[in-house]
């Protein structure tokens, strides 16, 4: 930053420019220190609850009752081990994987087809239908929460994982359709024409040209679906009641309400929930950030 200021002003002749450049030489350094200080302080605030989550998960049953010191005196993995094995978090982890995986897959299949139709194909009623899907963005979750539970009951899927997967898929409709149809629309139409000249049908064109070209958008949608689904709590809580079907967030809540809650166990369970998301995010954050920006621009 400082370098660019200096080079920018140095090219300008005259005493004034030189004076400005000089002034920025020293105050620029101060500004840099202040900038890094601010960023570091907020990084600590950002990480604060995670640090305590790790610290709590590594404390034993006695130490956790003491006070909120950060570094455990006798760090132990036994709490994590107990949570994972005896408290069945291995199973809940599996359930969460199933629900998140099925939802993500469903979203990719259903809305890449719909996104292609809205973005590329022409058919009567396209625009009003598109508008109808987007209007769903404004309906507050709380107004449909109860109707969804009643619907699950009527369809005989209340308490099953399918019962939450279907509304989860539908819940992503506005954003998925918005992002994917924009992405498909931006593929040059020449590609489509040439495929057609080669005798490719609509399905072939879709699979062999559009899906590969729009892979970044598909990864973005997968992430924007998978992460909130992994963390989802409210609908899952009112839909599932059999412990064998519980996902991680509900298992954590259940742990807190049934057993006399041990903070180290709660923190170990919390760590099991956030760790996979953090790893996934760190590996694929490029797609995630792009998607968020695209969602707001669109």
């Amino acid at each position: 930053m400082t370098a660019s200021i200096l080079s920018g002003t140095r090219t300008e002749p005259g005493e004034r420019a030189a004076r400005v450049a000089h002034a920025h030489g020293s105050s620029g350094r101060v500004a840099r220190v202040v900038t890094y200080l601010l960023l570091t302080v907020y990084a600590v605030i950002s990480l604060y609850p995670f640090a305590l989550m790790v610290s709590g998960a590594l404390k034993d049953d006695k130490e956790i009752l003491l006070d909120g010191h950060l570094i455990p005196h006798n760090p132990t993995l036994s709490t994590l081990n107990r949570t994972w094995n005896e408290l069945d978090f291995l199973r809940y982890f599996g359930n969460s994987l199933v629900v998140t995986g099925a939802t993500t897959l469903g979203v990719l299949v259903v809305y890449s087809l719909a996104g292609y139709a809205f973005g590329v194909l022409r058919f009567p009623g396209r625009r009003p239908l598109y508008g109808l899907f987007l209007s769903l963005l404004f309906v507050p979750g709380i107004t449909v929460l109860l109707p969804i539970v009643i619907l699950q009951q009527k369809l005989g899927i209340l308490g099953t994982q399918l019962g939450i997967i279907l509304p989860f898929i539908n819940g992503t409709a506005p954003l998925s359709i918005l992002l994917l149809s924009n992405s498909f629309r931006s593929v040059p139409t020449e590609l489509r024409e040439s495929a057609r000249c080669d005798g490719a049908g609509e399905l072939r064109t879709f699979f062999s040209i559009y899906l590969p070209t729009c892979r970044p958008a598909l990864v973005t949608i997968a992430l924007l679906t998978a992460i909130p689904t992994w963390n989802e709590y409210v609908l899952t809580r009112v839909s599932l009641n059999d412990t064998s079907t519980f996902t991680l967030p509900i298992a954590l809540q259940n742990l807190n309400s049934t057993v006399s809650p041990q903070e180290n166990v709660l923190m170990a369970a919390s760590l099991i929930i956030v760790l996979p998301v953090i790893i996934l995010f760190v590996l694929l954050q490029r797609y995630f950030v792009n998607g968020l920006q695209g969602a707001v621009k669109g």
Partner: protein, 318 residues
């Protein structure tokens, strides 16, 4: 519908074959949207319609029939019912505080952080990743971690006492004291909202023409002046988007309240979303499902109004 030329590169095809292609394309279009439409019909249109119908009825969820009451659920909540109306009013005031304060603090925190991130090169992506963690992990696990931090024997009290700020420590815990509970939840909400605000501001900053900043600097403007007098006005559309997103979330979101305090202590963190949730799911056999639905729809109307106002402000300034 009119651009025929781009659709057919060849000049030979007869009108009939062209029309056949059109029909086929339309049929393919319908086939492709069918799964989405079917799901939307059942999970979207049906539930929204059902929810609205329910707001006009009295029902406890167990009896076979609804009692139609027209708009009386809405009126009861707004002013008619001697128990519900005051509750709605006090929950409404708390919701209003959250709706105003959370977006404001999010902007105040997110904007300077984005400016700072935009100034540096070294370690930038590391900072960005760290700042973003609260957003991707948002949910019960992080809320439990905050509860653990904020409890009487928690880390925050421990830190304050060891830093010589023991007078600020809360012996009942930050969520146990009626006066600190709501402000504390607001801080946690802002902590969770800053990542997205920061990313959006960062995108906006990177789109600003660097010659504008250079010109201001040549004129002798300080870094702070540039931030407030040049960048801030240019980024107004982003501020509007950040405020809109967070207002909607603050108005309708109740998860953090449900998980961290469930309205306590003594109802001091009860908000409208949570009230609607409790009327629907935790009122035993009382016929309050219609009331819950009516409250949800009122929140919907307010959200639409807010979106409208925000869009107008945004348009008038761009």
């Amino acid at each position: 519908v009119t651009d025929v030329t781009s659709e057919s590169p060849t000049t030979v095809p007869a009108a009939s074959s062209f029309r056949r292609r059109r029909v086929r394309e339309a049929l393919t279009g319908y086939a492709f949207v069918l799964p989405a439409v079917a799901l939307f019909g059942v999970m979207g249109v049906y539930t929204v319609g059902y929810g609205f119908a329910l707001s006009l009825a009295r029902w406890n969820g167990f009896t076979p029939n609804w009692t139609w009451v027209g708009f009386s659920n809405y009126l009861d909540l707004l002013y008619r019912d001697p128990i519900l109306a005051p509750e709605t009013r006090s929950d409404g005031i708390r919701t209003l505080v959250v709706v105003l304060v959370v977006p404001a603090l999010t902007v105040l925190g997110g904007f300077p952080l984005a400016v700072a991130l935009n100034r540096i090169r070294f370690l930038r992506s590391m900072f960005r990743t760290v700042f973003f963690l609260p957003y991707v992990t948002a949910g019960i696990a992080v809320f439990y971690a905050w509860t653990y931090v904020l409890q009487p024997t928690g880390s925050l009290n421990y830190l304050l006492r060891h830093l010589g700020l023991g007078s600020l420590a809360q012996p009942q815990g930050f969520l146990g004291n009626p006066t600190t509970a709501l402000p504390t939840l607001i801080v946690v909400m802002v902590w969770g909202a800053i990542p997205v605000a920061m990313i959006l501001y960062l995108t906006g900053l990177q789109a600003i023409d660097s010659s504008v900043i250079d010109a201001a600097r040549t004129d002798g403007a300080s870094g702070f002046r540039i931030m407030t007098a040049v960048m801030w006005p240019l980024l107004r559309p982003i501020t509007a988007a950040v405020i809109l997103l967070n207002m909607r979330e603050a108005l309708q979101g109740f998860q953090i309240f449900l998980i961290m305090t469930n309205g306590g202590p003594g109802g001091h963190t009860e908000v409208l979303g949570l009230e609607a949730y409790n009327l629907a799911f935790f009122n035993g056999l009382k016929p309050t499902l219609g009331l819950s639905s009516a409250l949800g729809w009122m929140l919907f109307v307010v959200a639409l109004l807010l979106a409208g106002v925000n869009l107008r402000v945004l348009r008038s300034r761009v």
